[in-house]
């Protein structure tokens, strides 16, 4: 059953709708604060944001993922369709595996990034930040493929953190032992199929659970029962934001402007300019943006994504970035103090060829002390990879904590 009905013209009476987990979220939402994530109510923080963050790094946290845009792609041509759509080689994605990718317009500018779930032979799920049904339909011409948006047909939870595997084991999910990162398993959940993928947006050990919205409440209950002795805690979007920046993951609409919605074309980015060059596979003879990206790989990119390790502890949100000769070369797109790495970190957009690992930069940080504003030109260095990358993220079978 769908989580809510959009076929009624009366929908305007509600500008936002409860997720299938809403009753459970409301009971735990001590702050009584809600935010909007497309069609759904989302929780910024149930209680203390810091405790929720540390659940994700120390025990485990549960985040309602239902609002994320989800598409079902099936049919005989599902694979060739996806392979032409995205930049990476989808033929290597076996059933029961999940792959991260980006997809571009003809000019090689990134429309969105997301994950492709190969649910079973010939059936895929594409999860994205933005709605994509129009773009997918344009791309589907000539392919024998069925495409539909299934956002409201699937309830989803992210269970992230070092004790997440233990919680699932206690819940009777024996498949977690063999499940490698980006693996996908199915289990019976009282007559309903529960899909479990070892995926997430925190760069740590973690899983995402997918189920029929009718069973959402039961899943939440079972999860919290099983997790009681493993430090389980609901987690809001603020904690998740810190976790994903620490992991070095980018976010559409924050770290890059999705090409299909960007009025000023110079504000769009290519996969290379977002540090996603590793997802571009030129061995494929045809995919969206191939020609433009090939040219870019020869001529060089205009922008680069830099992961910055910044001195001191003042978060560098909205800051300009300069080179060591004080020339403005870009700006910070996401920033946080990293409680796990104990570093002041940021993702930044800088003009290429700046942004190489080891390069020193300056970040112009404005910060407030007792209402008074101060400015600091902080030193920063470009680092490679995630700011926080624990071995347990890849360890299979996963440990209990």
């Amino acid at each position: 059953m769908k989580t809510f009905d959009i076929s009624s013209r009366e929908h305007y009476r509600n500008k936002v709708f409860p997720s299938p987990f809403h009753a459970h979220q409301a009971a735990l939402n001590e702050n009584r604060e809600w935010s909007r994530w497309y069609d759904y109510l989302s929780v910024p923080a149930y209680g203390c944001e810091t405790l929720e963050y540390f659940a994700g790094r120390n025990t485990c946290g549960v985040f309602d993922l239902t609002p994320m845009v989800k598409h079902r792609i099936a049919g005989p041509d599902a694979l060739p369709f996806l392979d032409r759509l995205v930049t990476r080689d989808v033929t290597k994605l076996a059933p029961g595996r999940v792959g991260y990718s980006a997809w571009c317009d003809d000019a090689g500018r990134v429309i969105d990034d997301g994950t492709i779930f190969h649910l079973r032979e010939g059936e895929y799920r594409l999860c994205s930040q933005e709605h994509q049904i129009d773009w997918l339909s344009i791309n589907a011409r000539g392919f024998d493929v069925e495409i539909s948006e299934v956002t409201h047909d699937i309830a989803a939870l992210a269970l992230q953190g070092p004790t997440s595997a233990a919680v699932l084991r206690r819940m009777g999910c024996s498949a977690v032992d063999a499940l490698k990162p980006f693996g996908l398993a199915h289990m019976d959940f009282g007559g309903t199929e529960l899909a479990i993928s070892r995926t997430g947006y925190t760069g740590d050990l973690g899983y995402e659970l997918w189920i029929d919205p009718d069973r959402a409440g039961t899943l939440w209950d079972r999860l919290f029962e099983a997790g009681e002795l493993h430090g389980i805690r609901p987690m809001g979007s603020l904690a998740l934001e810190t976790l994903r920046i620490e992991a070095g993951f980018i976010l559409a609409g924050r770290d890059f402007a999705p090409a299909l919605q960007t009025v000023r074309q110079h504000n769009t980015r290519s996969p290379f300019e977002l540090g996603l060059g590793w997802l571009v596979d030129f061995r494929k003879p045809l995919f969206n943006g191939r020609r433009a990206l090939l040219e870019e790989s020869r001529k060089g990119s205009r922008w680069a994504l830099a992961r910055l390790d910044i001195e001191d502890n003042k978060p560098a949100e909205h800051a300009y970035v300069y080179d060591t000769r004080q020339r403005k070369i870009g700006w910070v797109t996401s920033a946080t103090w990293s409680p796990s790495a104990k570093k002041n970190v940021a993702l930044a957009t800088v003009r290429a060829p700046h942004g190489k690992p080891g390069e020193k930069m300056r970040v112009e940080i404005y910060y407030q002390r007792e209402l008074a504003w101060h400015r600091k030109m902080a030193q920063a260095v470009v680092v490679e990879g995630p700011f926080w990358d624990p071995p347990r993220r890849r360890q299979t079978p996963p440990a209990d904590f």
């Binding site: 959009i6 013209r9 305007y12 500008k15 049904i133 129009d134 339909s137 299909l260």
Partner: protein, 538 residues
């Protein structure tokens, strides 16, 4: 008889804006108006009981914010309040609405086509690219491409550079956009017939073209390039009716020493020795000035208010050829209560929006077919609003003013002048159409003012009743508006200037032609410029 520095003919928004900018620069300006009230097409009229009508233009978006500030219109009493949304009623009893809330709007499109909800982003992106391009040229004088004067060459280069900045794809789109029909343009994005009908309306308002006619995509842009408080494409109400805009401009003009004579039209613009000397009013009074600025339409200025012997035949021929075809009419209705539109089921949010009843591209095109046949559309396009749901100043509590813009309405009925019987027939056609969607509506009517092109020409002075003072088609835009070689507000006689919407950048309550003309006049007189120029954005 006193001699003035300048006489401005026509106290519409462009005329007053022009006069105010000239007065601000220290000129002694006389504003003359044929009606005994000022405002032209931006008026608030009390014609029945306690109701106030915006009886010509009825919503505000295009008024350039730079002019709003430069003339201190807020200080002089102008408030523009945004209204949200739009709704198109369908014959099957459903509707398609746009809400101020982005997510609600997306869900509403999804209700009709999930794909279109997503395509709307692409559509809005592309429209916004065109808006950003054109806005830069609204408060600038168009270059004369053939003059080879340094100023014109620089301006041409400026336009070229801005076009080049758009990038390859958008340059191609720009050419396509200015030459395509709105129906073809919408087909490139959307599949829902109802949604296409809803979006297409802006492509025909004020134009004697059909949704399938090339050039109507640009007309849509003309309606989307405005903003309210920086929200691009948003529309609002001038509090107190559209007359609040001209009233505020008039206060500014008077505060800078401007004088106004209302109640007497100009019989003739006087020329002696190849230069204007002033005007003679209908009552025979003469007023002298070395500068005469006409806010009247191009044909009215040169074919009706000047001696043909003072003008070159070729120029007069071009005035005759200027496309200024009437296509619309207006019903201003005083209501004793709030009508109940069956399909809306009491949706208060969409009641405050602009409302439409043509639910397909084909119906819109057939409405145009009637115009070609020389009659008003039997199934007309209407842009219907109830400003009193937003503005508390225009009717007593519980009573309402309904503004109904109607298209298509021809300037003549099957080649003959409009009669009162024709006008009543037109009125009944429109009222019956509304009644069909809102049973009981007619019983609430306290008063109706009907304006066909005949009334728009006779009362407002709009030739043939064309609300834009001339078609907004590619052949009459930028340096071709109104006539090639005359796009810089200078008339064909020394001292004669033009500041109406017949000139670049065209119609709508924008005040840009009036402002641009003032800037040119001041530059010509080597006076300090009081007029904002250009548009700044990243």
């Amino acid at each position: 008889m006193r001699r003035h520095d300048a006489i401005v003919i026509g106290a519409g928004h462009n005329g007053i804006a022009n006069a105010a900018f000239l007065a601000k620069a220290g000129l002694d300006v006389l504003l003359v108006e044929k009606n005994d009230y000022i405002g032209g097409a931006a008026v608030s009229r009390n014609l029945h009981g306690d109701w106030i009508y915006s009886n010509c233009s009825y919503v505000c978006s295009l008024l350039r914010p730079e002019i709003h500030r430069a003339l201190d219109l807020a200080k002089y009493g102008l408030q523009v309040v945004p209204y949200g949304g739009s709704v198109t009623l369908a014959e099957n009893g459903d509707y398609f609405g746009s809400y101020p809330d982005e997510d609600a709007s997306r869900r509403e499109i999804m209700r009709h086509s999930p794909r279109d909800a997503d395509a709307a982003h692409r559509y809005e992106r592309d429209i916004m690219r065109q808006c950003r391009f054109i806005r830069q040229f609204l408060l600038r004088t168009a270059p004369d491409p053939a003059s080879f004067k340094p100023r014109d060459l620089l301006e041409l280069l400026h336009i070229g550079r801005k076009l080049w900045d758009l990038g390859e794809d958008t340059i191609a789109d720009t050419i396509r956009f200015y030459t395509m029909s709105i129906a073809d343009w919408l087909d490139e994005y959307f599949e829902s017939p109802l949604l296409k009908a809803a979006y297409a309306g802006s492509g025909i308002i004020g134009s004697a073209l059909g949704v399938m006619s090339p050039g109507t995509a640009y007309v849509l842009l003309h309606h989307a390039m405005g903003d309210v408080d920086g929200t691009a494409g948003a529309w609002g109400f001038a509090r107190g009716g559209m007359g609040a805009i001209t009233a505020a401009m008039q206060r500014c003009f008077e505060a800078h020493g401007g004088k106004t004579l209302a109640g007497n039209g100009v019989a003739r613009i006087e020329v002696r020795g190849g230069a204007v000397t002033g005007v003679t009013l209908e009552n025979g009074d003469e007023h002298r000035a070395g500068i005469v600025v006409s806010n009247m339409t191009l044909p009215r200025t040169f074919l009706e208010c000047m001696d043909p012997k003072d003008l070159r035949p070729e120029f007069l021929e071009k005035c005759r050829n200027f496309k200024i075809r009437g296509s619309s009419g207006k019903l201003n209705i005083a209501l004793e209560g709030l009508p109940d539109f069956t399909a809306l089921r009491g949706n208060q949010e969409l009641m405050r929006a602009d409302l439409h009843i043509s639910d397909s591209i084909e119906r819109l095109e057939r409405a145009y077919d009637d115009w070609k046949d020389g009659t008003w559309s039997r199934d007309p396009y209407v842009d219907l609003l109830i400003p009193t749901l937003t503005d508390p100043t225009m009717a007593p509590p519980g009573k309402h003013f309904m503004s109904v813009f109607v298209q298509y309405v021809p300037p003549k009925v099957r080649g003959k002048d409009w009669t009162d019987a024709d006008r009543d027939g037109f009125r009944d056609t429109v009222l019956d159409r509304i009644e069909a969607h809102a049973p009981g509506f007619k019983k609430m009517i306290a008063h109706v003012e009907v304006r066909t092109p005949r009334e728009l020409e006779a009362e407002v002075g709009l030739t043939e009743g064309n609300i834009f003072q001339g078609e907004l088609t590619m052949d009459q835009l930028l340096f071709n508006r109104p006539i090639p070689g005359y796009a810089q507000y200078r008339g064909p006689v020394k001292g004669l200037w033009m500041c109406g919407s017949s000139n670049h950048p065209g119609g709508g309550v924008m005040a840009a032609p009036g402002a641009n003309a003032a800037r040119e006049i001041l530059m010509h007189l080597k006076k300090p410029n009081t007029v904002p120029e250009g548009w700044r954005d990243d």
